[in-house]
């Protein structure tokens, strides 16, 4: 699901909502939005990899 959410959030038309000359903490909204989405996606991927990693700890195929 994660890549699809990322695609929806990063592609038009959703992204156009944030493409406005508004500043947030002195930073352009679009910059904050892009990097925030990006960071959240990475964090989610990190959590997901931890979850997926646990049931199969001995995943070390030789070869």
């Amino acid at each position: 699901m994660l890549p699809f959410i990322a695609i929806i959030l990063l592609f038009p038309p959703i992204i156009l909502i944030f493409s406005k000359p508004v500043a947030l903490f002195g930073l352009p909204l679009i910059v904050v939005y892009l990097f925030a989405v990006w960071a959240v996606v990475i964090a989610a991927a990190f959590l997901l990899s931890l979850r997926l990693g646990k049931p199969d700890p001995a995943d070390n195929e030789p070869g």
Partner: protein
């Protein structure tokens, strides 16, 4: 500026460190293959060769020119990696399990180990990669020129410098040396290069630190705070109007495709992968790396645009900003970062391509034309290694040549995206190959050729702006002035970004052919089998080829090949672990053949390995049974429906048999009806006479006595006839059912004949017929019932008497015995029986051609039944005049008991 000597010295020192790291990495990997070099961190860092100098220098330039667009190049891969479960995991597993050596190997192996596909992909990769390498060489030389320019960096960045080809040349040489030393040391199983990977990881760290340092310095030392950065930022970085359109989507897509399809990315992501945990970590760590790299791109771009003089080359902001502020150390670090990103890309690309060139271009040709030395085991190995080394030099210098020819023109700057679009052509075959069972070799080939051709026509050739192959007039007005063939507005698709329309057309046609061609072609059994292996990689990992392929080869031959490719030591080890005795002319098992092929494939690619092994395989069959067993659901359903079809055919057959039986029953029923109707008719005829004459006698008492007498006689005769008829019917019924036991005895058939003649003599003399007997035969005996046979004779003789219309009627009886066959003949000189009637007269109630006098019409039928039951035959013999009935019976010579 920095002194040239110092820069060179630092570079050399840095390279020396890389050498040391690579050496140490190689040695360490040999001691402990699963050590920290196989750790997910190193794996992720090696993937970050995605960030080339095009990122290091170019991203800032792109941000300065086009705002947020540069982000797409990193968002695409982010989506692919965080969604690793969807596609990357499968790709990497296939690559790991089947020892894939390159993207060309994977595609060719998937579609039936086809050498043509491998060669095609290799050539495409070469065309796409060479300009990319040229771009790196340009970045390296210009950054070197800028940092050592005597009049100061800012001036240098503003002047359009003549490219320094000498520097570029020596850089190319250096890169070749490094790649050859660490990339082609051995032709190793799995083609993993621990030394190179270690060095690449170090370079990834360096470029990361360099960019981070420059970024932090810019934000906090120059601007003071993040917010301050954006105070003077250009519009397209604050409130972009039309960044997020089709081009945004296209670029994200292309970048996502490229991070899989670029030969160097495939090399580090798939080929160098050794476990799933690596990719699991990379799924978030690599996006994080990209995230951090991008974090400072915008501040650097904004600062460069605001602080440096107008017209400064934004591609070199990373370098010129620190130089402008006299921060030499930071500048040097930035230079090293750029140096790292460029060299690592060239090294990995050249290694990946050299493997592809040797496995998919040179080896197949060498094998076909027997150029490959086969004399000694080592010759083959050194031939392959030689080919790889030559390929590296070839690739790097192809890039150099490209750089040399295009010079400092703008053509290079755009090459990054053009390359992305080129390698994206592999995507349909790659994705389809892994997820779509019915994808065929023909579809992949057609898609790749068409996609690549369109890419060349709509994007690559126009990018030279008329300088190469395609003149400017064609770009502006289409070939021969045909408007709708304009490369950048194909089929009148005007007003769309050239990159977007090129991507659309090439990938659309590519994917369409990939999907449509399989509708008209059947995959080969091998391709079907490979398809199953690849598509169902998670389900069938345990299965090996041996269950399907039935091949026979001599062990000695296999060993010879293994020696040639793997080297004597490894070959020996391979055969030793298999416990194969070294005797010659022992036939290798399927398992061993597959094992050898797999090991060879890990070195020279699946297609070449197959060619090699096939050259010694004496017999190869694909077991249909096994294929069926392994077949996917569709095929199972097909098998099931075939079974159903077979069963329904059986049912049909049974139904036909039943229908036939039913027909027979109906026939019998009809015969019975007919028989009843015949019996009724036969009974009615004498009854008519009886009734009519008794009527006359009753109604006419005045009848004269003579007449009265005559009519009564008729009534009496007809009554007798009726009785005989009923007896006959009962007799015949018994005979036909065979349910009445006869007393079986051995008797002389002549005695039965004598008995018959005796009883017919009265009838004959009454009818004025002469009854004669000819030549009495020596006594013999038959088995059966004497009285029954006599009855048959009586029927025949009395027929001859009754129906004889001759003026001088004679009935002749004769007998003979020949070779154990007793033959009795009853002939008359009455009317002969026409050919057409000959069989019919034996049928019940059949009428002869002449008016019937007396008799029920059952005589011949009964006689025939009797004779057949005695094991003999009753037939009508050919005769010119009269009728001649012949009875033949199996007989033995004179009975010992002398029965009569």
């Amino acid at each position: 500026m920095l002194p040239t000597d110092l820069v060179i010295f630092v570079c050399l020192g840095y390279v020396a460190i890389l050498f040391a790291v690579a050496f140490a990495g190689d040695r360490r990997a040999r001691r402990d293959p699963s050590g920290w070099l196989s750790s997910p961190l190193v794996y992720t860092l090696s993937i970050s060769i995605y960030c080339t100098s095009w990122t290091f220098f170019g991203a800032v330039g792109s941000a300065a020119r086009n705002g947020f667009e540069f982000l797409t190049i990193y968002l695409g891969p982010t989506v692919v990696f965080v969604g690793w479960w969807v596609f990357l995991r499968k790709l990497v597993t296939v690559g790991r399990v089947y020892h894939t050596t390159s993207i060309a190997d994977l595609i060719s192996a998937r579609f039936g180990k086809d050498p043509t596909l491998g060669a095609l992909v290799t050539i495409m990769a070469m065309v796409v990669t060479a300009p990319y390498i040229a771009l790196q060489l340009q970045a390296l030389t210009s950054s070197f020129q800028v940092i050592t320019f005597h009049a100061g960096a800012v001036t240098a960045a503003n002047t359009s410098l003549e490219p320094d080809f000498t520097t570029a040349f020596w850089l190319a040489v250096g890169l070749c040396v490094f790649s050859i030393i660490f990339g082609v040391r051995n032709i190793d199983v799995n083609e993993r290069h621990h030394g190179v990977i270690a060095a690449i990881a170090v370079e990834a760290v360096i470029k990361f630190i360099a960019l981070l340092v420059v970024g932090l310095w810019v934000v906090f030392a120059i601007q003071g705070s993040p917010a301050a950065v954006f105070e003077n930022a250009p519009d397209n970085l604050v409130a972009p109007d039309d960044t997020f359109g089709l081009r945004w989507i296209t670029l994200c897509f292309l970048a996502g495709a490229a991070v899989i399809c670029l030969p160097r990315q495939f090399q580090v992501t798939v080929v160098e992968n050794s476990s799933e945990s690596q990719i699991r970590t990379a799924s978030w760590l690599f996006p994080l790396y990209l995230f951090l790299i991008c974090l400072f791109i915008i501040p650097i771009a904004v600062t460069g645009l605001t602080q440096l003089p107008e017209g400064s080359n934004p591609d070199l902001f990373v370098l010129t900003l620190p130089l402008n502020a006299d921060q030499d150390m930071i500048a040097l670090l930035a230079f090293l970062g750029g140096f790292s990103s460029a060299t690592s890309m060239v090294i990995v690309s050249s290694i990946a391509l050299s493997t592809m060139i040797s496995n998919h271009l040179v080896m197949p040709l060498a094998l076909r034309f027997s150029i490959a030395p086969a004399a000694s085991p080592d010759a083959m190995r050194s031939f392959i290694l030689g080919v790889r080394r030559a390929s590296i030099v070839f690739i790097v210098f192809l890039g150099f040549l490209y750089f040399f020819l295009s010079g400092a023109s703008d053509a290079l700057a755009a090459i990054g995206l053009i390359s992305f679009c080129g390698v994206a052509q592999f995507l349909p075959s790659l994705v389809g190959g892994l997820f779509w069972r019915n994808a065929t070799h023909g579809g992949a080939l057609a898609g790749l050729v068409a996609g690549f051709t369109l890419w060349g026509y709509t994007l690559f050739l126009p990018s030279f702006g008329g300088a190469f192959l395609m003149p400017e007039s064609v770009i502006l007005h289409g070939p021969w002035g045909i408007d709708w063939l304009k490369p950048q507005a194909l089929f009148g698709l005007e007003g769309v970004d050239p990159l977007v329309q090129a991507t659309f057309w090439s990938l659309f046609v590519n994917a369409a052919l990939f999907v449509c061609v399989p509708m008209f072609s059947e995959p080969t059994p091998l391709a079907r089998y490979q398809s199953r292996l690849f598509v169902d990689v998670f389900r069938h990992q345990a299965d090996s080829e041996l269950s399907v392929m039935r091949r026979t080869a001599r062990i000695a031959d296999l060993k010879h090949i293994a020696n040639r490719v793997l080297g004597a030591q490894e070959a020996f080890a391979l055969f030793a672990t298999k416990g194969i005795p070294g005797r010659r002319s022992v036939i290798a098992s399927d398992e061993l053949i597959s094992e050898v092929e797999q090991r060879l494939a890990a070195n020279v690619g699946a297609a070449t390995a197959r060619t090699l092994v096939s050259s010694v395989v004496t017999r190869e069959t694909i077991s249909v049974e096994e294929l069926k067993r392994l077949a996917d659901e569709t095929e199972q359903i097909r098998a099931y429906s075939a079974e159903l079809e077979r069963k329904s055919r059986q049912v049909e057959v049974t139904a036909a048999e039943l229908a036939r039986a039913n027909d027979q029953l109906r026939q019998i029923d009809l015969q019975k009806d007919e028989f009843l109707s015949q019996v009724s008719h036969e009974v009615r005829t004498p009854m008519s006479s009886i009734r009519s004459f008794s009527d006359i006698l009753l109604s006419d008492p005045q009848l004269d006595p003579e007449r009265k007498q005559r009519f009564l006689r008729i009534i009496q005769n007809e009554s007798i006839r009726l009785t005989k008829l009923l007896d006959g019917i009962l007799d015949l019924n018994q005979l036909e059912n065979g349910d009445v036991e006869w007393e079986v005895e051995y008797f002389d058939p002549n005695s039965a004949l004598d008995q018959a003649i005796e009883s017919c003599e009265a009838l004959a003399s009454a009818a004025g017929v002469k009854l004669t007997r000819k030549g009495k035969v020596p006594r013999c005996r038959v088995s059966g019932n004497r009285d029954k046979l006599a009855q048959a004779f009586i029927n025949l003789i009395s027929n001859g008497i009754k129906y004889n219309t001759s003026a001088n009627p004679i009935v002749t009886v004769s007998t003979s015995l020949r070779r154990g066959v007793y033959e009795a003949c009853v002939a008359d000189n009455g009317p002969s029986i026409p050919e057409s009637e000959r069989e019919r007269i034996f049928v019940r109630f059949a009428r002869g051609p002449m008016p019937r006098k007396v008799g029920a019409g059952l005589g011949l039928a009964i006689s025939r039944q009797i004779v057949e039951r005695l094991g003999g035959k009753l037939a009508l013999a050919d005769s010119k005049s009269g009728a001649q009935f012949v009875i033949t019976l199996p007989a033995t010579n004179r009975s010992p008991r002398g029965d009569r």
